[in-house]
Symmetry: C2
Subunit: 468 residues, 2 copies
């Protein structure tokens, strides 16, 4: 039993109208909902319905209850974390994916899932200037991509680990500024948190290669086994870029796996003016970049590349008989390359996005975000009451009001409340820092100007109160 | 820059019409595409477009290229692996999820994502008769759910492992018939394949508790550390049900984590006539069941429950504990409970499905599938030229033509070619076995009858050739 196709048609058209209205008017919605924890829970029935309910009621409840309890990521004034976009063509791709409902475990269970994933990741690889020998696969999140990189690295250094278990002397290196997923991945695969070395960064928040080299040598000297370095192109707090070339010199010398986390910024290599961004990353063993961050693709879609798919496969492949199919040289079975046996048809939305915008359209969007961020940074630089807390290589600005942490906390509150924006914070060198992350497809300078205006009135008010 | 909302509206309406037509006519499509590996790849441009293309062309290419290269899981004659359904309300839920494009990392980044996930999993828990202390979370796949169970189990037995790494003496037990994800999860988290014990099964393909007990005692005697047992309710090959109560007696006695893999069959506990199915599983530490399998929810949606969310959190959380006190008691941060930091709004489609069909509607659909499978099994039982290869507790029938493995391979080929169905195989007791997995929302007996008819003509032809 399913919904009748004509009932589906009517209800889905109704949903599309809501979606189109939502996209057209999202700027007018509060980006942060005015809800307390538990409010939605309390508004919902305590028990599920025994009997089915009409779709019209469900859609009405959706409109009434869900958007008012939603933090609107698909909103041009969302400046928190990394701003993302569920673009029109990407949403349409997801709609078709849901209707097909394919599970691309192996080639036979989803030829189009398998091949379109290879083709679109090949296209993207070319845009980013990555070498043709990089094998691409789509996972759900960068956290999972990085965990797979670590597992392949483990396989390279300790090929018996898969069978034997028991690691304990493998050591991983990543900067103090790297994403929590690196440490979490290491914990998950049994490396142990104490074997994750946090390499210091310089004043630009970039990993210090000399410190990395010293730490590796000290571990080798102590009889431990360095196995992997994770460098970042676009760190989470400041979008700093580790010196990947110098890091690659070290990993190559010591025979370590080099993984590059370009989850946010990696895709920027498709801009001609940033074409060298991943040049050194071409020397890496693996790289992740997330089209669902800055590349207008609805979540989830994380692109993982590796020059050693053989090791990834060796680390994970386990083919049960019921999935045993005759091997064809052109039939990749994606289930062999990771933890997850099943996978959604994520390449479909990526294909829609890449074709609809083209490289130029995507590059132009990122260029616009970068220009907005640079303009904002310029304003911050020109006002002594504020300071930039980090360089601005891409579209994220870290700044502070030249006051206490508490004042900066108040500043965020005031911006978010007065301008219908959502900015979040980070901590750099022990100080509370405000982040403006520009990245939504429909963000314009007019969305950012009110943030600056509020900062001005905030500083004016403080200055007056302090008699400055 | 994004697609203009009115352009989105037009194109999305067009997509909906295609989707409604697809659902209405999918039975007429070939369930298995007539493609060779590489054909779609060769039909696609070698390079991505520099400039954007009109959405009309992309949609036209989708229609022309993708469905003919797709294995149609959303097809009433898909009988392979486990049959699944992307139902109408579930698809609409996915559409809205794509438009909102929320990332539910923490409560603040997605109150509705967080709370609706807790509410729908609470509803489902009640339907399945699971205890109220089970904490629920949605992951993408059962493989990831099970990996998280193993990591929490590791945390319970060896709380220093997270920090120290280095396992190697922890031992996991699961039956010979359990899903490959159990072993893969153990490999991933560093347990080592050699520390995964495959417990023998009886003639019904159910784990032998006595053998489990012996293996655990032998390992304890040898100084190893048993830490976890994975029991299955609905194994992948035959849907057999391990004796969870007897297994729980053993795990409780030895202080081991008990994880129940009910990925396929767990949801059947919502049928009144199967209400006891998960009664013993209530004693487990964790359980997974996938609404995206038999519960009409588009992939991906895997429901994971645990009575020890504290251990799951301890295994994965990277937020310093002192920050937790400032949290609101009702604001769960789902990122703390797993590898993935980000998550799609998967609960939305589940909410749509649970409400649209109600418990009765979902139960009735499963009941129909079970009745179809039982009727088919009855026919097999009544024909000496065929044999049932396993009991049929749910909606999957494992059977053989009473001939060679090669003849059974030919039988599948003939069924799939002649009836526009897709059946797959497994191997039981070293013999090649055909599987008929009934589970699509729109499957009726009329879809299965041709399979039986083809089996008849196959057997008639063989019998005549052999002079039987």
């Amino acid at each position: 039993m399913d919904m009748a196709p004509e009932e589906f048609r009517r209800a889905a058209h109704q949903a599309v109208d809501w979606m189109a209205d939502y996209l057209a008017t999202s700027r007018e919605r509060p980006v942060l909902p005015a809800v307390q924890p538990g409010k939605l829970t309390d508004a919902l029935p305590r028990h599920a319905p025994e009997r089915g309910e009409p779709i019209s009621e469900i859609l009405a409840d959706f409109e009434r209850l869900i958007p008012p309890a939603t933090t609107h990521w698909n909103h041009p004034r969302f400046f928190a974390y990394f701003a993302v976009s569920g673009s029109g063509p990407g949403i349409i791709g997801e709609m078709l994916t849901a209707a097909l409902n394919v599970n691309g475990m192996l080639w036979k269970s989803g030829p189009a899932v398998t091949e379109l994933e290879q083709v679109t990741l090949g296209w993207l690889r070319e845009w980013l200037g990555l070498p043709p020998e990089f094998f691409g696969i789509i996972y759900d999140t960068a956290s999972i991509s990085t965990m797979h990189a670590l597992a392949a690295a483990r396989e390279m250094t300790d090929p018996e680990a898969r069978k034997r278990g028991g690691l304990g002397d493998l050591v991983l290196y990543t900067s103090e500024q790297s994403h929590s997923s690196v440490e979490k991945g290491a914990i998950t695969i049994g490396i142990g948190q104490q074997n994750v070395r946090r390499v210091p960064v310089d004043e630009r928040f970039e990993m210090k290669p000399a410190a990395l080299r010293e730490m590796i040598e000290a571990d080798v000297h102590a009889g431990r086994k360095p196995f992997c370095v994770v460098a970042t192109v676009g760190t989470t707090s400041t979008t700093s870029v580790d010196p990947v070339g110098q890091i690659a010199d070290i990993t190559e010398q010591h025979g370590l796996w080099l993984h590059v986390d370009g989850a946010y910024a990696g895709v920027a290599a498709m801009l001609p003016e940033m074409h060298g961004l991943l040049a050194a990353a071409s020397r890496a063993h693996s790289l992740v970049t997330n089209p669902h961050k800055w590349m207008l693709t609805p979540i989830d879609c994380s692109a993982f590349y590796t020059r050693r798919p053989d090791l990834l496969r060796q680390a994970f492949s386990l083919v049960p008989e019921y999935l045993n199919t005759a091997e064809h040289p052109r039939a990749v079975n994606l289930m062999d390359y990771g933890v997850q046996l099943g996978r959604r048809f994520r390449a479909l939305k990526l294909w829609f996005v890449m074709r609809y915008f083209g490289r130029e359209g995507l590059a132009e969007t990122m260029r616009t975000h970068i220009a907005i961020a640079q303009r904002f940074a310029e304003l911050v630089r020109g006002d002594k009451r504020f300071e930039l807390a980090a360089p601005v290589p891409f579209s994220v600005v870290c700044f502070r009001y030249a006051g206490s942490d508490e004042e900066n906390r108040l500043l965020i509150e005031e911006i978010n409340a007065r301008t219908n924006s959502f900015l979040s914070h980070t901590v750099l060198n022990g100080r509370y820092v405000v982040r403006l992350a520009v990245g939504h497809a429909r963000t314009t300078w007019e969305d950012v100007q009110p943030v600056w205006d509020t900062m001005q009135s905030f500083a004016d008010g403080r200055g007056a109160a302090a008699g400055r």
